[in-house]
């Protein structure tokens, strides 16, 4: 099904209205994919056009919450891009283990898969006890789901495969309990992660981190918003701290490129200078 055509001027007005009313700022998101998302929201929320959507969203915060799901939600996997986690295990963990306490930040955590993957990795490296993981997103419903740590059991075949490819040291089944068609991740993992609301478009640094992971988030931003977001991530890192990006994201064209060295280029792992 092809998404409906959406009109640029109407989209601009919708985004302005959302910012004014709800203080969510999508105005500097890359417009091509944002328009696709708005178009599919029109169909699913049964709105005739963007104007109708705008009226509905302004009148009813619940309708806005529904729209937010379309504008933000990312589906991820445990240990998605296994090579990334393998590189963290092999190249970053030796550095992390020299610190008496650790802070890590997953920016744009969606429903928490990446944060839990890091928690499992740290547990296997004996670092979880001394680590605090912050996982942030702008979508309250995603954060709520993430904090529960419950995922559909059918997804775990792929998760397990990823885990093994990522250099997992035991079996992924050691970290969850299956109940009917879902699996709940261990309390020790959930305890290590603080899920919180934070926007790379409007908020700033909240703690000093040893590792920041922000994968497949920047691609949804325009260049100037990318620079703002990378600025926040950069300022959050301690000296020699680590930054992980998505497999098609790079600092090469960024205003902040000189503040980093490439640690594992193919895994998009950088180290703050």
């Amino acid at each position: 099904m092809s998404p409906e055509r959406v009109n640029d001027a109407e989209v601009t007005r919708l985004l302005d209205a959302i910012f004014t009313r709800y203080h969510y700022d999508f105005r500097r998101y890359a417009s091509a994919s944002l328009k696709r998302r708005i178009a599919s929201a029109l169909v699913r929320l049964d709105c005739q056009d963007v104007q109708a959507l705008e009226a509905q969203v302004l009148a009813d915060p619940r309708a806005f919450s529904e729209l937010l799901r379309f504008l933000t939600v990312q589906v991820s996997d445990l240990f998605r891009d296994p090579a990334f986690f393998r590189a963290i295990r092999e190249q970053v963990v030796p550095h992390l283990s020299t610190y008496p306490s650790l802070k890590l930040w997953v920016a744009g955590c969606a429903t928490g898969e990446e944060a839990y993957s890091l928690a499992i990795l740290l547990a296997e490296e004996g670092l979880l006890e001394r680590a605090q993981i912050y996982a942030t997103d702008i979508h309250p419903e995603s954060l709520r789901v993430a904090a529960e740590g419950v995922f559909a059991l059918e997804r775990f075949a792929r998760f397990s495969q990823n885990y093994q490819l990522a250099g997992g040291k035991s079996s992924l089944s050691d970290y969850y309990t299956a109940r009917y068609s879902s699996a709940v991740l261990d309390r020790s993992l959930r305890k290590a992660i603080l899920f919180a609301d934070h926007s790379l478009a409007t908020d700033s640094v909240f703690a000093e981190m040893h590792l920041v992971s922000c994968r497949n988030v920047l691609i949804y931003f325009e260049r100037n918003l990318q620079d703002r977001a990378v600025g926040v991530l950069t300022d959050a890192l301690c000296r020699l701290g680590f930054l992980g990006l998505g497999s098609k994201e790079t600092l090469r064209f960024s205003a902040h490129a000189q503040k980093f060295r490439e640690l594992v280029p193919e895994a998009r792992l950088y180290q703050r200078l």
């Binding site: 092809s2 890359a30 091509a32 994919s33 098609k248 994201e249």
Partner: protein
């Protein structure tokens, strides 16, 4: 319908799946170095592994061939290809965006996603080619391009290794021209030579 090409072109997009790599092997050697337009190619790729598509096509093509990168400015005379596991979209500012959004037509990259965003960005200043393939991705994107005044070319199904994709496009009336494989390369060269000069999005008239 835009066969008269009253508008100058800003870009060419090409989509395909099963059998399209061989088809491109016939088309691309026809294109001379210094080709005045950017070309963007979306083929279905296996997820999660490097595709090697740019290298494979680079052998057959006098133009520089590369994987399109996020927010990379689109430059005439370059052939851009999709990356595995990401949709490729054209922004109105004349650059690319990548997206990891859900699969479209069971595919990521999806041809429809590229075509629809390119129709939006370029309007009538776009030519599109849909090649061999075994599902119907691309048909609705091609329709969108045609509705926006772009020129649409479909590989004649009887010359396609897999006819489902071109047939789907013909079925929904998305084709301005239906050409046998061997005629597509020369047609693109003719379109390009009708251009006065290399063009870019920034010249696009607004309003």
């Amino acid at each position: 319908m835009n066969t008269e090409m009253s508008h100058s072109l800003a870009a060419i997009v090409i989509g395909g799946s099963a059998g399209a790599l061989d088809a491109l092997g016939m088309i691309l050697p026809e294109l001379p170095a210094g080709f005045p337009l950017p070309i963007v190619v979306a083929l279905h790729l296996l997820p999660g592994r490097p595709s090697g598509l740019a290298a494979v096509l680079g052998y057959r093509c006098a133009l520089p061939v590369k994987e399109a990168e996020d927010k990379e400015p689109i430059v005439p005379g370059t052939l851009y290809v999709v990356s595995p596991s990401y949709h490729l979209l054209v922004e109105r500012e004349g650059c690319f965006s990548l997206s990891a959004d859900e699969l479209v037509n069971f595919s990521r990259p999806s041809i429809d996603v590229l075509f629809e965003s390119a129709a939006d960005a370029y309007g009538p200043r776009l030519a599109a080619v849909l090649l061999s393939g075994a599902n119907d991705d691309g048909a609705s994107g091609l329709s969108r391009i045609r509705e926006s005044g772009g020129l649409t070319i479909v590989q004649a199904p009887e010359t396609a290794a897999a006819s489902t994709m071109p047939s789907a496009a013909l079925h929904c009336g998305a084709a301005d021209e239906v050409l046998p494989l061997e005629a597509i390369g020369p047609r693109l060269v003719a379109l390009a030579s009708a251009q006065r000069a290399p063009s870019s999005l920034s010249e696009k008239e607004t309003g």
